[in-house]
Symmetry: C2
Subunit: 78 residues, 2 copies
DNA sequence: GTGTAGACTGGCGTCGACA
DNA sequence: TTGTCGACGCCAGTCTACA
């Protein structure tokens, strides 16, 4: 269970809760749709700038998003 | 005033408050010393994994670090 | 202890296309 | 609407070395 996998799951969850498409999220965050797809499937590790862009598009704070990630990450068996 | 520049300043601040060297931080976070140097000077944008590694070495939560960054970022004139 | 330089590998992030 | 593929440019991150 890697960090980017957890990040992707949470991102997908939040996006679907917002009821918006990958396409719209990509447009609002000035990123590529295929890249959003890869992120949600844990295939890519976003940089801090990418995290800020996505959070800006989702109207949430980067710290809030990372808190969700770290909560699930610390909850992993290891 | 870019995100990575603010991130670097805060990282340097925290590290110096801890009283540890770039060398020790690099070792504890399994990163290269020259890369820590570049990060602190805003020359590089860390990935989410790198952020987690550094925060782990600093005994702080990634969300806490990002909160400091976003507070200063939102405080910028634009 | 830190900044910087150069060279390098791998991966971030883009783009067009098709199922 | 999303996943994936291939190709691509550029930068994340490493390493050696020197001031």
């Amino acid at each position: 269970m890697t960090i980017q996998y957890i990040f992707g799951n949470i991102l997908k969850q939040i996006r679907e809760n917002r009821g918006i498409s990958q396409e719209k999220l990509a447009f609002d965050s000035s990123l590529d749709r295929t890249y959003i797809s890869m992120l949600e499937r844990g295939k890519r590790k976003p940089t801090i700038n990418t995290i800020f862009s996505i959070c800006n598009a989702l109207h949430m704070k980067p710290s809030e998003l990372l808190q969700l990630v770290e909560l699930e990450f610390d909850n992993q068996p290891h």
